[in-house]
């Protein structure tokens, strides 16, 4: 798609582009390739002949739908600052054979609209896709109102719901396409679109409901989801340099969970660790713990994430550092776990 991204650049009093680094809402998109990609990927679904309609509650610049609006104005529905209305309207649209996507900040989409999602989409079995972007604590000092560290727990407790947290926008595109004709609702969890790429387009390991096993470790396997996959890969590399055998699994589909991948890791590794930008209760860590218990597997598990608290004020990268959700932080947590005595046999 040939988009005129120049139109996003702010112009100063003299009508000329402003100093490099100056930014406003539209031009912010140029710094968020993952969000621009979302708009383009949705456009591609329409171009492939799907009856896709995309709804936004006044966030077309904040989530890249600008690109979709430019290319497919007839499939774009602006509903203003009314997330709950948007979800229920999507339900009505779906009954007429359309494939609606509702986009919004994860905090408002998953938390504010929880009941509309349960009652109007999941209970009624409507094939509506929810795209919750800016999930976790990626909004930094915007504060807890804009954070979503509960959304995985909420969404995975809703029957009929599929929950997917891709590691980057390549995985997002592949999984959106994979679930495009799924007959039930799907919740996609995204970051802010600035995550480093983990995958290259065309990577055939990205399959719905199937974890991507980057490696298994004798000492530890890290099971991560969404924005925590890249830091976990960085951490594993660091730990390997220190002599540990550490693996990483990308559990992009949290519901349904790839139980076989968890069992394989539990058989191979002396310890497991989950990493997620989410409360340690109810999310990926909870799902893995449930699975281990269900199968009578007694491998030690460290659930790493936000520990049932509201994040401090701070820039996103500083918060990731503080909560040990960046690469070095995940490595620190893993190392502490490996040397804690919880992993009894032969931790080096």
């Amino acid at each position: 798609m040939d988009l005129n991204t120049e139109s996003l650049i702010p112009l100063g009093a003299d009508g000329r582009p402003m100093a490099e680094g100056t930014w406003h809402i539209p031009s912010m998109l140029l710094k968020s390739p993952g969000l621009l990609a979302l708009g383009e990927q949705l456009g591609a679904l329409v171009d492939e002949g799907r009856p896709v309609v995309v709804l936004t509650p006044d966030l077309s610049y904040s989530n890249g739908l600008w690109a979709f609006r430019e290319s497919h104005p007839d499939r774009y529905l602006q509903l203003g600052v009314s997330e709950q209305n948007s979800v229920s309207v999507a339900a009505g649209l779906a009954t007429t054979g359309l494939q609606p996507y509702v986009t919004g900040f994860a905090s408002f989409l998953a938390l504010l609209c929880c009941e509309q999602i349960r009652t109007d989409l999941a209970y009624t079995q409507q094939p509506v896709r929810l795209v919750g972007h800016h999930s976790g604590i990626t909004f930094g000092f915007y504060g807890t109102s804009h954070h979503a560290t509960e959304d995985i727990a909420i969404m995975r407790s809703i029957a009929n719901m599929t929950v997917v947290a891709p590691a980057d926008h390549v995985a997002m595109g592949a999984l959106m396409r994979a679930y495009a004709d799924h007959p039930l609702p799907v919740y996609f969890r995204m970051g802010r679109g600035r995550e480093p790429l983990v995958y290259q387009p065309g990577d055939e390991r990205i399959q719905p409901g199937k974890a991507i096993v980057h490696s298994l470790g004798d000492d530890l396997t890290i099971i991560a989801t969404g924005t925590s996959v890249h830091p976990s890969l960085v951490a594993a590399e660091e730990l390997r340099g220190a002599g540990y055998s550490v693996g990483v699994i990308d559990m992009h589909t949290i519901k349904p969970l790839d139980v076989a991948a968890i069992r394989a890791a539990a058989e191979r590794s002396r310890g497991l660790m989950t990493v997620e930008e989410h409360n340690v209760y109810g999310g990926l860590g909870g799902a893995v713990a449930e699975t281990l218990t269900d199968h009578g597997i007694g491998v030690p598990l460290l659930r790493h994430g936000i520990r049932d608290e509201y994040a401090l004020i701070g820039p996103p990268t500083h918060l990731y550092r503080h909560y040990r959700l960046d690469g070095p932080g995940v490595a620190e947590e893993a190392r502490a776990f490996l040397t804690s005595g919880r992993i009894t046999s032969d931790a080096r």
């Binding site: 309609v53 009314s82 979800v87 229920s88 009954t95």
Partner: protein, 288 residues
């Protein structure tokens, strides 16, 4: 054209009589089904019996026995607690076996206190959580536009339901987009659970509210079948680029004197002797 493909009705007075008779059928079936469940929403259903009967026997474009017909007019019930009055009508249209009514609310039966579209053929959308279904109806109406279909969507709302904020999100969007194939019918029976709607949180001036959101407004006596039929057909057959709100002035518990006088009958159950008296009063029909 008349909704049902039963005996063809040659005059509008015959149609009016049929609708009146079906409204009484709705009330009597409501009493019968609630006696099975041992709990139910009598008076909320009685207030909208003529509205339901007028829609299903005089206004909606439906095909008997074909609940999934893609071009049918849609009906969504914001006030889902009146579903007990809708089920007998849906069965009467051949959408499901009327014998299912006999097992209303019993284990595994598709018919519960609030309607479930995945279980009840002819139920266009599930409800029970107030405030959702005007948005859902708006989505259906916009979907008709986007898919090139020519059907209308009718949303029955309780007046207490208008306290819900989401109603006004949907109202604003429908007005903004000029969704002419969307009709909201407000069952203005004046009461919600705790008493008079306007004593709890005032919703007047109601007509002005809808107009301010970009809607056409019609007001009608919700028990006057000729007036209801005339109003709804006029709305159906006109082409305007605005949604329409019909404020149907009704009486909560209409048809049973003691229920009309006591808002507590929003929910309840009648033991055998009291039920028999209510049935006698309904069959007497002197109030019509």
């Amino acid at each position: 054209m008349p909704a049902s493909e039963g005996a063809p009705l040659t005059t509008s007075s015959e149609l009016v009589e049929r609708i009146r008779e079906r409204a009484q059928f709705v009330r009597l079936e409501t009493v019968r089904l609630i006696s099975i469940a041992k709990t139910g929403h009598y008076s909320s259903t009685f207030s909208c019996a003529e509205i339901l009967a007028t829609l299903y026997y005089g206004v909606l474009r439906l095909r008997r026995g074909d609940p999934a017909w893609a071009d049918r007019d849609r009906f969504v019930m914001g006030k889902g607690h009146a579903a007990v009055g809708l089920y007998p009508i849906l069965a009467d249209h051949g959408f499901f076996d009327p014998e299912l009514l006999d097992g209303y609310t019993r284990l595994g039966n598709p018919l519960g206190d609030h309607p479930d579209m995945t279980k009840v053929p002819g139920c266009d959308f599930s409800s029970g959580s107030l405030g959702h279904n005007l948005s859902v109806g708006l989505g259906m109406a916009l979907g008709a536009r986007m898919t090139g279909r020519d059907f209308d969507v009718y949303a029955l709302l309780g007046d207490g339901e208008l306290h819900e904020g989401q109603i006004w999100e949907a109202a604003a969007a429908a007005g903004h987009y000029g969704v002419g194939n969307l009709v909201a019918i407000v069952d203005r029976n004046g009461y919600c659970l705790d008493g008079k709607v306007d004593d709890i949180i005032a919703i007047e001036p109601l007509a002005d509210r809808w107009r301010a959101f970009g809607w056409e407004v019609e007001e009608v006596d919700g028990h006057d079948v000729p007036a209801l039929l005339d109003t709804l057909l006029r709305i159906r057959d006109r082409e305007i680029a605005k949604p329409t709100a019909v404020i149907a002035h009704t009486v909560k518990g209409k048809g049973v004197g003691f229920m009309e006088r006591d808002f507590g009958w929003h929910l309840g159950w009648l033991a055998e002797q009291d039920e028999a008296a209510v049935v006698r009063e309904l069959k007497d029909e002197k109030w019509i």
